[in-house]
């Protein structure tokens, strides 16, 4: 029974990390940019929840989603000059931006964490047989499935989705054929802002203590997932994120405590090995096709 319990927890964390990973992958697909600052969008959402403490829940949700989307748009603006620079320069730039935003958060809110108190009731559990399932676990899973599905639909069935896929495949060619690059990138950023907002809401219930590195701590494992799964493809990257969340819970439960502290090392060692052995990612079956998103 303990195993079933762990399995469900693992699925839930996997679903959350998959959402973060999807945001990272989507941006990489369209902009060829690994955005370290993506975590700070989540942090901004978390502080929005903190500042709206005491307000009605629908209002808090609206404010949080607005803040994450605006934050994503702002980051898009700041990173604009780095669209044309080589990838390593852009990587340093997003690293610097992430650091800058974390320290701005320290400046305004201090390093001490504060409790967001967002829907703590969802942490209650109901039981099926002997398995206790928290409502938030169910909610995260559901949200993960719905959002990944919705994203897939948008990419497959709408004009802007088609344009995003075209831009991801070959940005220059897409522009020549009339895809407006600013619009595609802006939409991608807005989508990732919305995803980050959704992740914040689900995370806030389970990890109520917001600190300046709140989002960074989630971004790093998700980034691992994206690289391991396949940076170049949205589905592969998202699966990678899921895989990392899933494995983290599973290993955290079954490893002896002495070994558990080295879990992070093991994850990052996998990253290095994958980069060396299968640089396209584990979940990418064929490399012939052009589609990256």
């Amino acid at each position: 029974m303990r195993f079933a319990q762990t399995l469900i927890d693992a699925l839930a964390l996997g679903a959350l990390f998959a959402l973060v990973a999807m945001g990272v992958s989507l941006l990489f697909g369209v902009m060829r940019l690994v955005n370290f600052a993506y975590g700070e969008i989540i942090t901004a959402g978390a502080y929005a929840l903190l500042l709206t403490k005491g307000m009605a829940t629908p209002a808090r949700i609206t404010v949080t989603l607005t803040v994450t989307i605006v934050m994503a748009a702002l980051i898009n603006l700041v990173l604009r000059p780095f669209r044309t620079v080589p990838p390593p320069t852009a990587l340093i730039a997003t690293f610097a931006l992430s650091f800058l935003l974390q320290n701005l958060a320290i400046l305004w809110f201090g390093t001490q964490g504060a409790a967001m108190e967002f829907l703590p009731a969802l942490n209650q559990a109901f039981t099926i047989g002997e398995v206790r399932i928290r409502w938030i676990t169910l909610a995260s899973l559901l949200m993960g499935v719905v959002l990944v599905g919705a994203m897939a639909l948008i990419l497959r069935r709408t004009d802007i989705g088609l344009q995003m896929r075209a831009a991801a495949a070959d940005f220059t060619m897409a522009r020549i054929l009339g895809v407006r690059s600013n619009r595609v990138i802006a939409v991608a950023f807005l989508a990732t802002g919305f995803l980050a907002g959704a992740v914040t809401l689900a995370l806030a219930v389970q990890r109520p203590l917001v600190t300046p590195s709140y989002g960074f701590n989630v971004l790093v494992p998700a980034l691992v997932g994206v690289v391991v799964g396949g940076l170049d493809r949205l589905v592969a990257g998202t699966m990678g994120g899921f895989f990392v969340g899933f494995a983290t819970v599973l290993l955290g439960q079954f490893l002896p405590p002495d070994a558990r502290v080295f879990l992070n090392s093991a994850l990052f060692a996998v990253v290095i090995v994958v980069l060396l052995v299968k640089p396209n990612g584990l979940f990418v079956r064929h490399t012939k096709g052009f589609e990256r998103v």
Partner: protein, 351 residues
């Protein structure tokens, strides 16, 4: 060696000497800041040796600094206190007692050995992959050092390290690193690596083994970074794993980028200018008196300022303050160099 090329070495060394001389005339607190500028310069130049010459980004160099710092610290901290503070430490490390200079040599050796071991796989990567893989190295090193109490102090602070990094040791240490970096970049190995940075295909065609050259530079750079870590441990007198992790990585990379990633002069100028500014802001965070006006800025202002500066520099002038040129003999015209954008280009990704 002609006058111009000698100046490429002499200029940076004079700047370091100027910091030391100016610093030694100041108050005690500022003296510590000045010495820390010199040690930081050593670390940044060590990073430049690999990043600048190869054009491959590394987020991992601070792990070599960390290893060097802990090696030098453990080798010189009093043997009597080690078993009580760190009960799980390996008996060999408890016994280990070295003098100041041997501990710095040990720090350099450990840094170099670790860089070599890490480098064997890592040098096969470039561009984005190298950035992410070296970031992984940084996280792994920190995670292991923090949790494995057999080889180090774990999450605790290692203190009572003899503070032997005075102005003499800091200056000579920074000079040594600069001289090695200079000799390397003028050697045939350095030239081969720079050729590979400019045009990987052409350099392969003339028989340069890029991975071997990168590994050599990575190891040498790791050795110097380990040495810099040793200097750092002897400067601070106490060290813990969080002091040699993300913050320091960010700061040193900011220095390299702001100074100019493609030249030795850029690395030294960036380190001196940015750590001076950093020290100034650190004092301001503590509260200071400037021209009769008491003022204090809130904590972490300096990291915010660094972030803004770094982003602005990357966006507006990616070749840094120095334009990634070496210091020219002041009586000749400067030689034009290619922009650093071309140098940092990623051979794996088209466009």
């Amino acid at each position: 060696m002609n006058r111009r090329s000698l100046w490429e070495l002499g200029g940076p060394m004079l700047l370091i000497l100027a910091v030391a001389v100016a610093g030694s005339t100041m108050s005690r607190a500022l003296q510590l800041q000045a010495r820390s500028i010199l040690v930081t310069t050593a670390v940044v130049v060590a990073m430049y040796l690999f990043i600048g010459n190869s054009g491959v980004l590394s987020f991992g160099h601070i792990s070599f600094v960390a290893l060097g710092a802990f090696a030098a610290g453990l080798a010189t901290a009093p043997a009597a206190v080690k078993p009580t503070t760190f009960p799980e430490l390996h008996p060999f490390l408890v016994q280990l007692q070295l003098g100041n200079i041997p501990s710095l040599v040990l720090a350099a050796l450990i840094g170099g050995l670790f860089a070599f071991l890490v480098g064997v796989p890592i040098v096969r990567l470039s561009g984005l992959s190298a950035g992410i893989a070296t970031f992984a190295v940084l996280i792994i090193t920190n995670n292991v050092l923090r949790n494995w109490e057999l080889i180090g102090p774990g999450a605790k602070t290692l203190s009572l390290i003899p503070t032997t990094t005075g102005f003499l040791q800091a200056t000579l240490g920074a000079w040594l690193v600069v001289v090695v970096a200079y000799l390397y970049q003028r050697s045939r190995f350095g030239r081969m690596l720079r050729a590979a940075r400019e045009d990987p295909s052409a350099s392969r065609a003339v028989g340069i083994d890029i991975q071997r050259q990168r590994l050599l530079a990575f190891t040498l750079s790791g050795t110097l970074a380990g040495f810099g870590g040793g200097l750092l441990a002897h400067l601070l007198g106490s060290i813990n794993t969080q002091q040699v992790f993300l913050d320091l990585t960010f700061l040193t990379l900011a220095m390299l980028v702001i100074g100019g990633i493609g030249s030795l002069w850029g690395a030294v100028v960036g380190a001196v200018v940015i750590s001076t500014l950093n020290s100034f802001l650190a004092e301001a965070e503590r509260g200071m008196n400037l021209v009769g006006v008491e003022f204090q800025v809130p904590g972490s202002t300096r990291l915010v300022a660094m972030g803004v500066l770094m982003l602005a520099m990357l966006a507006l002038r990616p070749t840094g303050l120095t334009g990634s040129r070496e210091l020219a003999w002041p009586f000749f015209h400067r030689r034009a160099h290619k922009s650093v954008r071309a140098r940092m280009s990623d051979p794996d990704t088209p466009g």
